[in-house]
């Protein structure tokens, strides 16, 4: 599959090992011909990717607990920042219909309810998926593109 025809998946996670793991399981299982995996360590970095027309993802995998660097250079986790990011994408008519999947270890019902209210397309717990199950899940939501 040509690069421009690949399905683009963007993972946003501050944990480097998770980013490598997520990206490389597609390579390891020989699925790089179908999917192009983009990675971002922060919402800011993700927004830069989204602003580039050529890099617009088809699906975003997003952790709910992403630390944000404050003005004093210290990090803090602000769920509001994640929620506003989701809201922005869902409300932006200029963005193609991007699917948003929450990919987190956060099991708290309140958070789940809040993101679901915003219309996310899935809620996955990281530790409950085997490596290949992540690929199978994506194959399923991009029905027909799996091989």
């Amino acid at each position: 599959m040509e690069k421009q025809n690949k399905i683009k998946i963007l993972l946003i996670d501050d944990d480097e090992m998770i980013r490598i793991y997520f990206r490389d399981i597609f390579w390891i299982h020989g699925r790089n011909d179908t999917y192009e995996i983009l990675i971002a360590s922060s919402i800011k970095e993700a927004e830069e990717i989204l602003s580039n027309q050529d890099m617009k993802p088809d699906t975003i995998f997003l952790d709910t607990m992403i630390p944000i660097k404050n003005e004093d250079n210290k990090s803090s986790v602000q769920i509001e920042r994640t929620l506003s990011f989701i809201k922005k994408i869902k409300e932006d008519k200029g963005l193609p219909k991007i699917k948003i999947i929450i990919y987190s270890n956060q099991k708290e019902k309140q958070i789940r309810d809040e993101v679901e209210k915003l219309g996310v397309d899935g809620f996955l717990i990281k530790g409950e998926l085997m490596p290949k199950e992540i690929i199978e899940f994506i194959d399923k939501i991009h029905n027909g593109s799996n091989n």
């Binding site: 480097e16 090992m17 998770i18 490598i20 793991y21 490389d24 399981i25 390579w27 390891i28 299982h29 020989g30 790089n32 990281k126 530790g127 409950e128 998926l129 085997m130 490596p131 290949k132």
Partner: protein, 446 residues
């Protein structure tokens, strides 16, 4: 099929630049297709394990490239390598390498924990794998409470833990008896056939090549030859004759076990008593087979068994090689006699074959130091005739030869009955080729 692994100009040295430098892999160039079942085959020290561990990202090579799904793993960071090893490759070890302080379930779940799977999910998946390997009943046991065969099945379940597309088996049968070796081979075949996984096995044992589709023959750190296996192939010859005959299912399960035990014990006894290694005995079996199938002639056979093991031979001394060659040629000649007799019987089942039987009998009693009475000779001829006509099954032969003359037997000593029965079976049936190596080595190495 597309390539899953491509290796270009791979060179690996151990202790490079030091006086003890070893050039373990020399200019290796190979491509392995997705879904292939590959063996790196060759004697100890030929570099096959180094090649296996270079592909797995365990051995860091000094020059060349190893591509997995078109990505060169020599450029991976340590973190990327760790992910690749944990999710891309499942390794089955000869020594099982289980964690002794963890029970079976936790041993299988362990690789899943390394990639962040919760212990609850990991144990659930581990349990499914144990069920697949038919060892779920041992989930709570510790490795030291299991037999070698059971431990190896745990080892396979663990290798499958993160569902890797490539399974690497490093001499996986080395510590198993033939029954368990067959179970492991069957399972590797299933992983290849049903799951579509790419299997790479390192072995120096010809009979473990049974289901392999591609053989990379290695020697002195290089790949000497690549065999793509078709239907009537090396693998068929090697495995069906050297292994499946031993473990083949007969209608009578009991007989099967007896044959198997008998052969294994014999090979093992030869190994222990005569100083021949299992490799040498297996090599010997293979060369004998080549001669029976007339792929090599008498002179080539002699040359091969006389050649050193390193050069592809068995390493027998010249005098012993001379004796064995004569012995084997004798058997081949007698086989021709049997084929002739069988043709006569086929044409006319009631044909008298007394002359032919006498010839066989005289050959059988060559070297027999006892004295046979006229009655015993008659009884022996009758037994030979019945056996050739298949009125007498192979497993009754020793008994009838040993049974006293007045009980319709031949009245030989048990040892003489055994030797004569083996000798007769050697010429009767190709299915009994396995007897040959043990008999020849046993008799001629004295």
């Amino acid at each position: 099929m597309d390539q899953i692994i491509k290796i270009e100009n791979l060179n690996l040295w151990y202790e490079k630049g030091k006086p003890i430098e070893v050039h373990a892999l020399k200019d290796i160039n190979i491509s392995i297709e997705r879904g292939d079942y590959v063996a790196f085959f060759g004697p100890s020290g030929c570099g096959k394990t180094s090649l296996l561990y270079s592909i797995s990202g365990i051995d860091r090579f000094q020059s060349g490239k190893v591509f997995i799904n078109d990505r060169d793993i020599s450029g991976l960071t340590n973190q990327e390598l760790a992910i690749f090893r944990q999710t891309g490759i499942g390794i089955v070890f000869q020594q099982f390498n289980l964690v002794q302080s963890l029970n079976v379930l936790k041993n299988v779940a362990l690789p899943m924990l390394f990639v962040g799977v919760t212990s609850e999910k990991a144990e659930m998946e581990a349990h499914k794998l144990l069920e697949r390997l038919d060892i779920a009943m041992f989930a709570d046991r510790y490795p030291f409470e299991l037999s070698g065969g059971q431990q190896q099945r745990v080892g396979i379940a663990r290798a499958l833990a993160n569902n890797p597309p490539i399974i690497i088996a490093d001499e996986p049968l080395g510590n198993l008896d033939s029954v368990n070796a067959k179970i492991v081979l069957d399972f590797l075949k299933e992983l290849n056939d049903k799951d579509g996984r790419t299997i790479i096995m390192v072995t120096h044992e010809a009979w473990s090549l049974r289901d392999v589709k591609t053989i990379y023959n290695m020697k002195d750190a290089e790949i000497m030859k690549v065999d793509k296996i078709g239907t009537a192939s090396v693998a068929d010859i090697l495995s069906k004759q050297l292994h499946e005959q031993i473990t083949s299912m007969s209608e009578d399960g009991k007989t099967n076990i007896n044959i198997e035990e008998k052969l294994s014990t014999r090979i093992l006894t030869n190994f222990l008593l005569r100083g021949y290694s299992m490799d040498e005995i297996r090599r010997f079996e293979y060369i004998i087979n080549e001669r029976f199938e007339e792929k090599i002639d008498k002179n080539e056979f002699h040359k091969l068994i006389n050649k050193s093991f390193k050069e592809g031979g068995v390493g027998l001394w010249k005098k012993k090689a001379d004796k064995i060659t004569i012995y084997l040629e004798n058997i081949i000649e007698k086989r021709k006699d049997i084929i002739h007799i069988l043709k006569i019987i086929k044409d006319n089942p009631i044909s008298p074959i007394s002359d032919e039987i006498r010839n066989i009998r005289e050959w059988l009693i060559e070297g027999y130091t006892g004295k046979l009475s006229a009655l015993q000779v008659l009884a022996l001829d009758e037994v030979i005739s019945d056996r050739i006509r298949n009125f007498l099954p192979a497993n009754k032969l020793v008994k009838i030869l040993d049974l006293s003359n007045n009980k319709s037997g031949v009245g030989l000593s048990f040892r003489a009955a055994q030797l004569m029965a083996e000798k007769l079976e050697l010429i009767l049936n190709n299915e009994n080729d396995n007897f040959i190596s043990s008999t020849v080595i046993d008799d001629k190495s004295k």
